[in-house]
Amino acid sequence: MKFLYQPWPWYVAGPLIGLVVPALLILGNKPFGISSTLKHICASCIPNKVPFFNYDWKKDSWNFYFIGGIILGAFLANIVFGNTGKVKISYETTRDLLQLGIYKYNTLLPMEIFSWKGLFTVRGFVLIVVGGFLVGFGTRWGNGCTSGHAITGISNLQWSSMVATVCFFAGGLFATHALLPLILKIGQKVSTGGLNINF
C-alpha cells in the first residue's frame, strides 16, 4: 500500500505506459493517441462548418471515456493517494530554474506560473495560453503527440513518427534554451516590478 502513496520510478511507469498500446488494441482495436481528443472536442462542442471537423465524431466517442478515466486516475494519484508533493528534480535543474526566477518547488507545477494568480502575469499567460495553443495547433498539424507518434508510432516502426518525435525535441530544446530565459525573466520583471518595467 505504501507504494501507492509514493512517486514511481521510470522503470515501473514506462513499461506500464507502454502496455496502454496493446491494451487499447485488444480492448477494441483502438490506436493509443491523445491529441486527437482535442479534434473530437472541436467537432462535438463547437458549432462550425469547417470541413475538417465535420465527421461522425460519435464513432470516436470512446476517446471521451478514456479522457474521463485519465482525469479520474490523476485525481486518485495526486489527491486520494497523494504524494508528498515536492518533485525531486536534479540539483542542476533547480539551480538553472532559480536563476530564471522560479522559486516555488512544493508541488508538481511551479505555482507562481500555473495558478490563477500566475495566469494573469505576462510569463504565466505566455506559458499557459500561448503554450497551450501551440500544443493544440502543433499536434494537429503534425498529426500526433507523444502518445500517438513517440510511443505508438515508433513502436509500430513508423519512420514518419520518428521524424515527428525528433521535431518535438527540436522545438522543446529551442523553447527551453532560447525562448524560456527571455519569457521567464521579462515576465518576472513585469509581474514583480510595478515601477521598473524593463524590457
Binding site: 488494441l25 495526486n78 535543474t93 502543433g138
Partner: protein, 137 residues
Amino acid sequence: MKENIKYIAAGTAFGFVLTKAEVISWFRIQEMFRFQSFHMYGIIGSAIAVGMVSLYIIRKYNIKTVEGETILLEGKKFNKGFVYGSFLFGIGWAFTGACPGPIYAQIGAGFLVSVVLLLAAVAGTFTYGYYRDKLPH
C-alpha cells in the same frame, strides 16, 4: 456506457501512472529538455520498448481483440506538417510542461488552471482546422 467502461478503466490506469511518475510535472519536462536527468528518457524509452514488443507479439501470434476481430494499426502517411507542426508542439510542450495526456491529468490532479490550458489547446486545434488548406502539408 457499459461498453465504454473498459476505456474508463484504461484511462484511469494511464492517468494514475502519468501522475505517480510525475510525467505531468513542468519540472520533469524542464529537466528532460536540459538533459539533467534520465527519468523522462527512461519512461519514454521503456514505454516504446514495451509497445514494440507487444505489437510484435500481437502480430506474430495473430492475437485478436476481445470481440474476436483482427487487430489493425495503420501507419500515418508522412507530410511536411509532421515537421512544422511537431516543432511547434515541441515549443508548447516546453512552455506548458504538458503534452495532451498530461493536460487532462493536471486537471484531475487538482491544478484547475490547466482548464485554461486545455481551452487554449482546443483553440489551437480549431485554428489549425480553420486554416488547414492554407498551411503546407
